[in-house]
């Protein structure tokens, strides 16, 4: 009789233990896998006022400046600067790519950028462009424009002026003046509210 009780008790313990283990193992949490959706491909950025906005990441939605009649005489021409900040070389300013740019030496104004058009042309418009991506933010750059026939003697084309660069207007400044014959075009920067040196994505001469 005693033996039977023991057998029953032990069998019950085993049964209960096995049931517990089975229930436990079946209820073990599986790995939680979260697949981030590709739908959230947006980009938001910090505007100059610090108010976040959303923009598309497609460059086609950036402001494009109006086209100017005539040929851009500065494109791929020889260009030099008195100095540049690390990799932002002068050549970036005439390479036809507004996303690559020249930046003068930091806090060492004036920063001087000179384009050699190769021969003497009559010019009447200079357009300075920066990357139109709104992430750049608006800025004021102060520079003068001078010209030279021989690369030695420079005379004023446009005096020192503040120019507003704003992605809302394609980050482009168009400067018209009375037609003048010149071979060399020189920009002399004395201030930039958006960076420690003068910046030129593209200089276009018409």
């Amino acid at each position: 009789m005693k033996f039977k009780v023991w057998i029953i008790i032990l069998s019950l313990i085993i049964l209960a233990g096995v049931i517990f283990a089975v229930v436990f193992l079946f209820n073990m949490p599986e790995a939680e896998i979260i697949s981030v959706s590709a739908g959230n491909s947006q980009r938001s950025y910090v505007s100059t006022e610090g108010i976040p906005q959303e923009i598309s990441n497609k460059s086609s939605t950036f402001q494009e400046p109006a086209s100017i009649s005539g040929e851009n005489l500065a494109l791929y021409k020889a260009v030099s600067a008195d100095a540049n900040t690390q990799v932002y070389y002068a050549a970036n300013s005439v390479d036809g790519n507004v996303n690559t740019y020249w930046e003068g030496a930091s806090n060492a104004y004036p920063n001087i950028l000179t384009v050699d058009l190769g021969e003497i042309f009559s010019i009447k418009t200079i357009r300075i462009r920066l990357n139109p991506n709104p992430i750049w933010g608006a800025r004021i750059q102060t520079f003068s424009i001078t010209g030279s026939l021989d690369g030695e003697e420079y005379s004023t084309i446009v005096d020192l002026t503040d120019y507003d660069f704003d992605p809302m207007t394609a980050n482009t400044v168009t400067i018209d003046f009375n037609a003048i014959d010149t071979r060399y075009v020189r920009l002399e920067f004395t201030a930039n509210s958006g960076a420690p040196g003068g910046q030129v994505g593209e200089i276009e001469v018409y």
């Binding site: 033996f3 085993i14 790995a31 959230n40 108010i51 976040p52 990441n57």
Partner: protein, 491 residues
């Protein structure tokens, strides 16, 4: 009667035996239940974050990677096994994948159609012995790690798998002060950042662009996504993906940087910089990994750097260097040095530099540990601790130099000072070279009687399983005239 007594006794014994067996089983079941209840219950539930394939990015087609049965996108990024310093250096591609997890996960790598004879998962210290069946490799990871998987002893198309810890409180799109790049491809160009702002590159994002900060403070560049330099020309664009000048209190964490068109992550005249869990694979000329010049209080932790020029490099351009720590770094050096101080050493002092817990998976070119003082600096108190070289191929390609350790004071093509410097108090502790093509040599060379190398402590250096206790055993060439107090020990 006698027979019946025997039978009863037998029966009794049998019942006793059954009770004992039942008692043993019951005890085992109880022990197992207690184990389940105490150990298994407290085991964290695995959590895995998978990121979407950015549309328009072509991934690797020869590798299928899954975690817990779910596919992980495999990128194909440039690497360079060549030696040509040119615009078109003959790049190859290698697979790279990443995801985040906690807990324990099962990973499967399939190379369709490949008969897999052998697999090496590096760093070897992870101790991963994968199960291989036909064209499929499977293994478990119990914590996030950065690793490479080499199939059939081939370093070409080694799979780079970067698994990250889960992100803690990532920002949301539109959060103030955050430049947010969600999953997908962004052609950003220069990302203009101001002080106190965050650049967040979400997992699944590929950002073509660069961040150049000058005189800024309190900036974070974080996330799980990729900054990719592959669209930029090495000569015309030369963009450094992350370039910090005169900045303070900067955190760079969690991101991956691929195929930069110049140096990869540069810090110059900076203070209090923390770089953590950054993964770099570079391929083109001058694409040094993590470069620090004239910085103070800079720590680099838990990073992976595969580079086609110096992997970790400390320079002193024109300000003193103090307090630079590289800790828990995995390196693969395709060209130049792995852990370098130099060549530009124009600071007055370069001191308190730590290279700790570093594994070099492969070095195919120049010294693993080097101090090249080719300007005027006093370089002192430099520690190389717990360094493991898994595959020493320095000089094996016929160029480069077969140096494990190279300390020198000399004029080089990069010298600008007319004055020479000194080197003092350099510590090598627990250095192991596991294998390689041939026994790597070392060099310690001063300049003249006033420009010397002194107090070099080499403790527990092991090359190919041999403990090195003197210069001869370690094939050290030591310039006896201008080098003083080189000690070998085994503590």
């Amino acid at each position: 009667m006698i027979g019946s007594n025997v039978s009863t006794a037998l029966k009794k014994n049998l019942i006793c035996l059954i009770i004992v067996i039942l008692a043993i089983i019951a005890t085992a079941v109880i022990v197992f239940d207690v184990y389940l209840f105490t150990v298994m219950r407290n085991k964290d539930q695995a959590k895995i974050i998978l990121y979407p394939a950015p549309s328009g990015i072509e991934g690797a087609t020869d590798i299928i990677l899954t975690v817990e049965g779910k596919p992980v996108f495999v990128y194909d990024t440039a690497v360079n096994f060549g030696r040509t310093f040119s615009r078109n250096p003959g790049l190859e591609k290698t697979p790279m994948a990443y995801f985040d997890f906690s807990g324990t996960v099962n990973i499967e790598v399939k190379a369709p159609g490949i008969d897999i004879d052998s697999v090496i998962i590096r760093p070897l210290s992870l101790g991963i012995v994968p199960v291989v069946k036909g064209d499929t490799i499977s293994f478990k990871l119990e914590r996030p790690a950065q690793l490479t998987i080499e199939i059939n002893d081939d370093v070409h198309r080694a799979i780079h798998l970067f698994t990250n810890p889960l992100e803690e409180g990532p920002p949301e799109p539109g959060d103030p002060g955050v430049h947010y790049f969600g999953p997908g491809v962004h052609t950003a160009g220069r990302i203009e950042v101001k002080s106190n702002e965050t650049v967040y590159i979400a997992g699944g994002a590929v950002v073509y662009g660069w961040i150049h900060c000058s005189s800024l403070e309190n900036i974070k560049i974080i996330g799980r996504g990729i900054i990719d330099g592959s669209i930029y020309d090495r000569w015309e664009d030369t963009v450094v993906p992350i370039n910090l000048f005169s900045c303070k209190n900067i955190i760079v964490d969690g991101i991956t940087i691929l195929d930069p068109a110049a140096w990869t992550l540069n810090t110059y005249l900076c203070e209090n910089i923390k770089i953590n869990n950054v993964k770099i694979i570079s391929a083109r000329p001058n694409s040094d990994g993590i470069t620090t010049q004239s910085c103070k209080d800079l720590t680099v932790t838990d990073c992976f750097v595969r580079s086609w020029d110096d992997s970790l490099v400390v320079k002193g351009y024109d300000g003193d260097v103090k307090g630079i720590t590289f800790d828990n770094i995995i390196i693969w050096t395709d060209l130049a040095q792995s852990c370098e101080i130099g060549y530009e050493t124009r600071a007055e002092t370069i001191e308190d530099i730590y290279f700790k817990n570093i594994t070099i998976l492969h070095n195919f070119h120049k010294p693993v540990m080097s101090i090249h003082n080719s300007d005027n600096a006093l370089i002192k108190n430099v520690h190389y601790e717990n360094i493991v070289v898994e595959d020493a191929q320095m000089g094996a390609a016929g160029d480069g130099v077969n140096f494990l350790i190279d300390l020198f004071i000399d004029i080089s093509q990069w010298s600008q000072s007319s004055e020479r410097g000194n080197i003092r108090d350099i510590y090598f502790d627990n250095i192991k070279v596991l294998s390689g093509s041939f026994f790597p040599v070392s060099r310690i060379k001063g300049f003249d009687g006033n420009h010397t190398i002194e107090n070099i402590h080499i403790n527990n250096l092991e090359i190919f399983g041999e403990l090195i206790l003197n210069a001869e055993e370690g094939k050290f060439s030591i310039d006896e005239q201008n080098v003083k107090n080189v000690k070998f020990s085994n503590k």
